[in-house]
């Protein structure tokens, strides 16, 4: 584990000189001051507008997550098959924002497009987590009962995995809320659409109100989204936002059968070399390199941030007042999606990898710090254990390192996906080229770039899984 840590650090150091981390904004402090002022004195929108956007965000998240969970549950039944695992890995290797771009082309800016954009990648993730939970269930009961496979599963495996599945699904709803908000950045009518508009125009007081609304939803949902009331909430969500779309079959057919096809197949004049060559060398390759550079830097900074921040919320080290402030800060960064943080960073610092790096670090670091801090409260120290900094360095940090490493490694897959998608904000990762291809209506190119992104994410996914198995870290990070 120490060796792997050192390798990750070396990789990041190697990437550092190639990363454009310049500060091109002339006066970030001025803008930061205005932003701070806005966030200190939020300006709330009218009730009906606020309620409308909040309920729509909730409805998207609920429908997307529930549909994703149901699909994931079905897929997980076949998780023993390598084909199924590959299929699920593919579904989740494409970020929900990319799915949204694709689906909006097919279904228009419609509720159905938004719900599916969430449900499809979430199904891939749910299938993976559920499938792995099934594998970890004690097999004795299954062997003892025998009988038809499916009945056996419902009586022996499912009951044992159920509570962990519920816990994970609930956590996933938090992600769903964030994702639903971010879908607003591509035009779906959630909180994000207002947030983006306000930020773009520099109305920080209004933006703050929308951000606090998202925070409120994320912090409070565990109080009111009880599993017994889930059906009621789902019905309400479907009534509020019927998942439908105005389908134009000819346009849909045109998109799938013509627009997505590589140009050389449609136009004999264009050769494969001319079409594919520049696409790969000028877009896919630089996008890939930038994505990898940013992700490996973000991974190391996330780890460092988490290591420095988790003592703040660990009862072994910090007193209650410090822990309370620490929790507040971590919840703030945890609730703010990377996409939103990057957007703010770009406004402050101007275009470079720096805002994205900071955003990825703060968001993911806060999540890792929170979990490691929580886990450290279960450690039992000796009566004569030292206090203060020595306690952190010698007692708590070494004992927590395994957990920390497992969680951070698990975040790698998420950081990778997010890094690619942050390109849509203008930084030159893969998402930038995908977004450009979409806005130029070159869907065949967008598809190639999407497949490159998917391949990258699936590769990283597989590598991280192999490393986890090698270091015997399985099962530690599944709760994230």
């Amino acid at each position: 584990m120490q060796r792997s840590t050192a390798l990750f650090l070396l990789l990041a150091l190697f990437c550092l000189p190639f990363a454009d981390l310049s500060l091109s904004s002339l006066d970030p402090w001025h803008e930061l001051g205005r932003m701070g002022q806005g966030f200190a004195l939020p300006q709330w929108p009218g009730w009906s507008l606020w309620l409308n956007a909040s309920l729509t965000t909730l409805a998207f998240a609920l429908q997307g997550v529930v549909l994703g969970a149901v699909l994931g549950f079905v897929l997980a039944l076949a998780y023993g098959s390598a084909y199924c695992r590959l299929f699920c890995a593919f579904l989740r290797s494409i970020h929900e924002l990319f799915w949204a771009l694709l689906l909006i082309q097919m279904l228009g800016v419609s509720p159905l497009a938004g719900v599916l954009a969430l449900a499809i990648p979430y199904a891939g993730t749910f299938a993976k987590i559920y499938g792995e939970l099934y594998e970890e269930v004690n097999p004795a009961a299954r062997r003892a009962v025998g009988g038809p496979t499916l009945s056996n599963f419902f009586y022996t495996v499912l009951p044992q995995a159920w509570s962990a599945m519920k816990g994970y699904t609930s956590y996933r709803f938090e992600c769903g809320l964030r994702s639903a908000a971010v879908l607003g950045f591509v035009g779906l009518p959630t909180l994000g659409v207002h947030l983006e508009a306000a930020l773009r125009q520099g109305f920080y007081a209004e933006a703050a109100a929308w951000f606090y609304s998202l925070l409120l939803l994320i912090v409070s949902f565990r109080l009111w989204l009880r599993s017994r009331l889930l059906i009621v909430w789902c019905v309400a969500a479907v009534l509020w936002l019927p998942p439908v779309a105005q389908l134009d079959w000819t346009l849909l057919w045109q998109f799938i059968a013509v627009d997505l096809l590589p140009l050389p197949l449609r136009d004999a004049e264009v050769s494969w070399a001319i079409w594919l060559g520049p696409l790969l060398t000028d877009q896919a390759l630089p996008g890939l390199v930038n994505t990898l550079i940013l992700a490996s830097l973000a991974l190391c900074l996330t780890g460092i941030f988490a290591l420095l921040a988790f003592p703040m919320v660990s009862p072994l080290i910090s007193a209650l007042p410090v822990r309370t402030v620490g929790h507040g800060l971590l919840v703030l960064f945890r609730s703010a999606p990377e996409y939103f943080l990057t957007f703010i960073g770009l406004l402050l610092f101007g275009p470079s990898l720096l805002p994205a790096l900071l955003a990825l670090t703060l968001h993911n670091g806060a999540i890792v710090a929170f979990v490691v801090g929580q886990a450290s409260s279960n450690l039992k120290l000796r009566l004569d254990a030292v206090g203060g900094m020595n306690r952190y360095v010698f007692e708590v940090m070494p004992r927590s390192f395994r957990h920390f490493f497992a969680f951070t490694l698990y975040r790698l897959e998420i950081i990778m996906r997010e890094t690619a998608v942050l390109g849509m904000l203008g930084i030159p990762t893969l998402g930038f080229f995908i977004d450009s291809a979409f806005s130029e209506f070159r869907f065949d190119r967008a598809l190639v770039l999407l497949l490159v992104t998917a391949a990258l994410n699936m590769g990283v996914d597989a590598a991280a899984r192999a490393l986890r198995l090698r270091l015997h870290l399985r099962g530690l990070a599944e709760q994230l």
Binding site: D384, F394, P398
Partner: protein, 225 residues
């Protein structure tokens, strides 16, 4: 009396709101080598922890549950005994590079304990007996005047137990041990304290403690019926 280190007067000790020891009267003076005897669960560990709490800064502590950090090396776990003696930034650096002086010091200590070859191995890769020796090494490294050990040699063989207890007694002015081996207690200690049913049932020099008294300590009420 200046030489009294620990004193309990009509003191009761509780674990989880339940009295384990009631109305204890006990003084322990500088230079004594005390063995706490009694059945498991009678309150030896509780008494020991309460004694330590009176003078935490001069007690070299060797608990039964070693509480070593599993993924740190033997060297670092031993070094941890003296963390308080150095500034934190030096400790932080030594986590990475312990330096020749510290390494030599600890190697010298580990050699007679048979742990020298394991010095750079993580504690989790050691056997139970080796971990127990590492635990003792850590307490010895603290170089404090009072040694308190809770069954410090329970996982070691007879020969090792004898020589280690001898070393512990030689290097510390005052020694307080919870032991289940009466023979070891007789040979190494100057005072035997027996606990039974929440009270001190025996308190004497080893020569005066007769086998019937000692035997009583290990006979529960149930067996008497």
């Amino acid at each position: 009396m200046a030489d009294v280190l620990f004193r309990f007067t009509d003191h009761s000790l509780a674990v989880a709101q339940q009295d384990v020891l009631r109305d204890i009267n006990l003084t322990i003076a500088r230079g004594e080598r005390v063995a706490l005897l009694g059945e498991s669960g009678v309150g030896k560990s509780t008494l020991l922890a309460a004694l330590r709490a009176q003078l935490p800064d001069v007690v070299a502590w060797c608990p039964q549950e070693t509480g070593l950090v599993p993924n740190l090396s033997v060297l670092h776990n031993v070094y941890m005994g003296r963390l308080h003696a150095h500034p934190w930034w030096k400790n932080l650096w030594r986590l990475w590079r312990p330096g020749a002086q510290i390494t030599d010091e600890i190697a010298e200590l580990l050699h007679p304990l048979g742990l020298l070859e394991f010095m750079h191995r993580p504690v989790e890769s050691l056997s139970g007996g080796q971990q127990q020796r590492c635990n003792i090494a850590r307490a010895l490294y603290q170089r404090r005047p009072i040694f308190m050990g809770d069954e410090p040699v329970s996982a070691l063989d007879e020969h090792q137990s004898e020589s280690l207890l001898a070393q512990i007694c030689e290097q510390h002015e005052t020694v307080i041990l919870a032991l289940h081996d009466v023979g070891l207690a007789r040979r190494h200690c100057t005072r035997l304290i027996g606990l039974r049913a929440g009270r001190i049932a025996l308190d004497s020099v080893p020569e005066a403690a007769m086998p019937p008294d000692l035997g009583d300590l290990y006979t529960s009420d149930l067996a008497k019926l």
